[in-house]
Symmetry: C2
Subunit: 148 residues, 2 copies
């Protein structure tokens, strides 16, 4: 091995509690939906809002994303991950939250109205009238703190 030295990285990592994670992501914004799709592992940014501690986002009816997130089996939901972060590279500080769970396709009027009322907007153009909810089975997160 060649001798390689790096400047000491003095920041430290703190694990976040589930409640801390939910507080950090409560405001909505851009998150990233990750799943195993037709071309393998896939990650796409989407605009999201929180609804009763679940993630809600919009996609187009019959869009590739909407189709990829179907198991094809009635009542069996696709397992996905949803990641949100806020990182300041200069300050070397930030946090990231990972929500894992099934992608639930909203199909009842009541649930659709609730999802609509979160005000979640698609971040890209086109009609995106299909709502998907990620129901967390696991919420983890970490905060990076710079050395003082």
């Amino acid at each position: 091995m060649p001798e390689i030295t790096h400047p000491a990285t003095k920041g430290r990592i703190e694990e976040l509690t589930e409640q801390e994670c939910l507080t950090l992501i409560a405001g909505g914004g851009i998150g990233r939906i990750a799943y195993s799709g037709r071309y393998g592992q896939t990650v796409l940014p989407v605009n999201y809002q929180l609804l009763d501690n679940t993630i809600v986002f919009r996609t187009g009816e019959d869009s590739p994303l909407e189709e990829d997130l179907q198991t094809g089996i009635r009542h069996a939901e696709y397992q996905v991950a949803f990641e949100i972060d806020e990182i300041n590279l200069t300050a070397r500080e930030g946090w990231s939250v990972l929500v894992q769970g099934p992608a639930h396709h909203i199909d009842s009027d009541t649930e659709r109205t609730a999802a609509h009322q979160t005000g979640v907007q698609p971040w890209s153009g086109g009609a995106k009238e299909h709502y998907i909810r990620v129901i967390p089975t696991r919420i983890t997160g970490r905060r990076i703190l710079a050395a003082r």
Copy 2:
């Protein structure tokens, strides 16, 4: 269905070429590594640099990430995705790039020196002396343009 109306979203999506994607991500920074890990679909932010059109990032030896990205079979590499984006929610503009391919664990001195010379730093604390390269088999991206 209740009648639901949304403000028209006039932005449009443009698919990016592979070369446009590589140009956009050339500067390095924060990207997100996505894979199927011990707890299912997982996404984590990491600092990356580009090395000969491949993604390079660092992790700790024997860290959960390093372990999860092993197939356990010699010369068989784990399939992952790496996502980079830059999104301006207010302007409703931005782009995202998705790199898919195997996660190659750097183990030769020559390759390790080349990876080191990219100057890639881990974004969080602790010793992170293990370099991983994502060798693209597929590079896709899109740009969102706001209505003018």
